[in-house]
Structures are given as C-alpha cells and as structure tokens.
Amino acid sequence: MKSSRFQYHRPSTLCEVMDCLKNLENPRVIAGGQSLVPMLNFRLIEPDHLIDLSGITDLDYIKKSGEEISIGAMTTHRTVEFSEIIRTHLPLMSLAVLSVGHRQIRNRGTIGGSLCHLDPSAEMPLVSMALDAQLVITGVAGVRIVSIEDFCEDMLSPAIEPDEILSEIRFRPWQKGHGWAFTEYARRLGDFAIVAAAALLDFGEDGRISKASLTLGGVGPVPTRITEAEVELVGQRPSEELFARTAKYCAEIEPLDDPFVPGWYRQRLSVKFAQRVLREAWAQSQVGNEH
C-alpha cells in the first residue's frame, strides 16, 4: 500500500500556495495528512502534485482579539488540547479534542485538515457547527468568509474550490457561566465515533434557558444542528422532562446506515446522547456558577 507518484511542494507563504494552485495540474493540498495519507496509500486519490502547508508557520496560532477566538488552519489538535485560551473560552472544544484520534494523531493532525476532510463523525466539524464558527477561505481570487453551516455541504465535501484553502477558523465564545457537554461512542477509544453529540446552554437571571445549541455528529452526512429542539428549549426552565422531550427531535434525522452500524441504532443512540449532553450541560453550568 504505497501512494502513487507525485511531486512535492512546500511553499512558505500563502502567496506561493496560490501560485502552486494556479499553475499545477491535478494538485492536492496536504495539512497534517492524518486522513489524506491513508487515502493516498489506498490510492483513493492520485494527485500529480502534493502541496504541503506545513511550511507556512503563519497558519499555526490561537489568538484572542476582542470577543473573538481565531485559530490558524494549520494548528494541530495537540496545540488546541494544551491551549489555555481554548480551555478558558471554548471549553467545549477543549473537551471534544480529547476524542480526536489518538495521541499520535492529535500530535500531527490539524483543525483545518479535519474541517476540509469533513468526516461525518469528526469532532472538530461538530464543535465548529455547535459554536457557529466562521471560516476564512483564501483563494486565487481573494479571501472570503463562510459560515460553518454553508461550508458543510455534504459528506466529505466541504464548500471549498480546488484553488482555495481554509486559512482560519473564528469563534465567538459563549458568555461565562454557560454550560457545555460533549459525548461520543466509538468501539475503541480514539476510533471514529458512531454517534457524537454536543450541547451548549445559557441561562437568564430567572433560571430559564436563554440560548441553546444541540449538535449531532456521525448521524447525518455532516454535523447537524437540531434547531427544532433549540427553539423549544429557549425560554423554558431546565428539567429532565424537557430534555427528554426535545431530544426526540434527533430521531427525525435520516441516519447513516452501514453493515456495521444500522441506522436504527444510530437513531436510538442520538436521542439518548442528546438527552445526556443537555443534562450534562445544565449540570456543568451549575458547577460553573458556584465558583
């Protein structure tokens, strides 16, 4: 199992990347390569040119400016995992990143690579969807910003052109004291999730839910927000009954179905997981407020 032949390019600026994309025939961009190299080794893809982004140190950062957290596309999962900024402002991501592959994969895989690969069960697209991320896409024609919702077009198919790369991911953190939770089930720790779920809840002074985000991964072709549930949660007082009722909306997603994991199983698991993350997010917000 060896990759087919390609020529290797390691540009050191975004400008040079754009030159490569403009001038080379059948190119492919490689970030951490933790999904791409297996695809090359299996010869699912056979590019003539491999453009390695690892030489662009400008794309490896986590910054806070004003209310916004921005992460460079070439930032590794390891950097996210150990980042104090992420722990403080995007605790959901801090938690979910621990389920990305194994230690050895997190050491090399990048957040930008994970988003562009767009595996249905991957954690970073799920978290980005839960937090309404904005994606900065740099192309030969210029820079554009796209919402994660528009980016996640279809399974393994992000809305990005062959002459573009993802350069930055932007997040608006939820206010202090919000609750968050993430859970996933895989047959072995670090394997692809069969179902993953994330919830964020914020509360008003009257104790009612003021803002809700509920997202499932591994069930639909791309991470899916359960908007009906979110609408119903807002304005209500948190309770087991409420969580059980709203989690049922998860059963309305057409589930992925394969010989190992039938659709009905994913469906049942997603309802259970939705209920669990809502409950845990509520509990988490109470822990947060005691400090």
Binding site: R5, Q34, V37, D52, H102, I105, L189
Partner: protein
C-alpha cells in the same frame, strides 16, 4: 526503481545522528527509515495509521511514520526504538517490558515503547487510566495488553518513588 525526475535528497537526524539519502517524495518516513537507513526497529503494520506499530518521535512528539512522507521530515529530529537502549543495557522502560512479559512476538513493541517514552517525558503524574488512553493508539495481537499496562505502571511507580 524510483524514477529519476522525482527523486530528491532528504537529510534528517535519527537518534542524534545525521543521515542523508535519496528517495521519491511518496516514500513514507517508515519506509525511509527501514529501507534507506536500514533502521529496521520501526515496524510497518497497517500503513494507514490504525495499528501504531510504526510510531516514532518527531521533535519529541509521537507520530505515525506511515502517515507522513520522508520528505516532510527534512531537518527533523527523529527518535526510534534503536535509540532507547544505553549501549547494551536496556533502558528502564524496556527492562520493565522484559520483566513483565510485555511482549510476545514483539512486532508492535517498538511503536508502543516510543509512545510510552513520550508519555513519561510529557507527564509528571501517571495513572493506569492515562496509560491506557495513550496505548489506545496501538494494537497488540499477542498480550491482551494487561502485561503492557503492568510494565508501564512499573515504570510509573518507580518514577514516582523517585528511583529515576
């Protein structure tokens, strides 16, 4: 045979020693170590990043050497299983594997040793849970893992007791 037009020089350092050899860009780091540098301690199992047998340290971080190309490791500092022993003396981690029967066929062992080397390097507190977490990136078809975990715990206990 590699095609001349694709071939390039690759210089990197393995266990503190500098090597230069020629390879195609599509040559994985694992193949480069084994075939070009004849450092066959790094083993190749699945070649798609699932089994962990080919794990090496790159600038101190554990990575799958089948999931990167040698050309991407240009200028990097690589540590492989060949660098663990001090002369003819096994290091404490290797010794613990010996004493606990942490291997049978030994195919997965070099990768596991490298992951655990990083684990003991970056952590100051150890636990069975975190040891099992890092080992989840490896597949061993012989031992049932219990003796591997026991070996790692021996090292952890000995470090915590201040013997190292």
């Amino acid at each position: 045979m590699p095609t001349a037009e694709y071939i390039q020089n690759i210089t990197l350092s393995v266990n503190g020693e500098s090597y230069t050899s020629q390879a195609e860009p599509r040559t994985s780091l694992a193949d480069f170590l084994r075939y070009n540098l004849e450092l066959t301690g790094t083993h190749i199992g699945c070649e798609h990043g699932v089994c962990g047998a080919c794990t090496v340290l790159i600038d101190g971080n554990s990575m799958r050497s089948c999931l990167m190309f040698a050309v991407q490791a240009e200028g990097k500092e690589i540590a492989t299983v060949e660098g663990l022993a001090e002369g003819n003396q096994l290091n404490s981690l290797q010794k613990a594997f010996w004493e606990r029967h942490g291997l049978q066929c030994g195919f997965c062992t070099s990768g596991i040793l490298m992951t655990l080397t990083e684990y003991f390097e970056i952590n100051s507190e150890y636990s069975e849970k975190t040891i099992r977490d890092v080992l989840s990136g490896h597949i061993c078809r012989c031992t049932g893992y219990e003796s591997i975990v026991a070996a790692a715990l021996d090292v952890a206990n000995s470090k915590e007791a201040g013997n190292e």
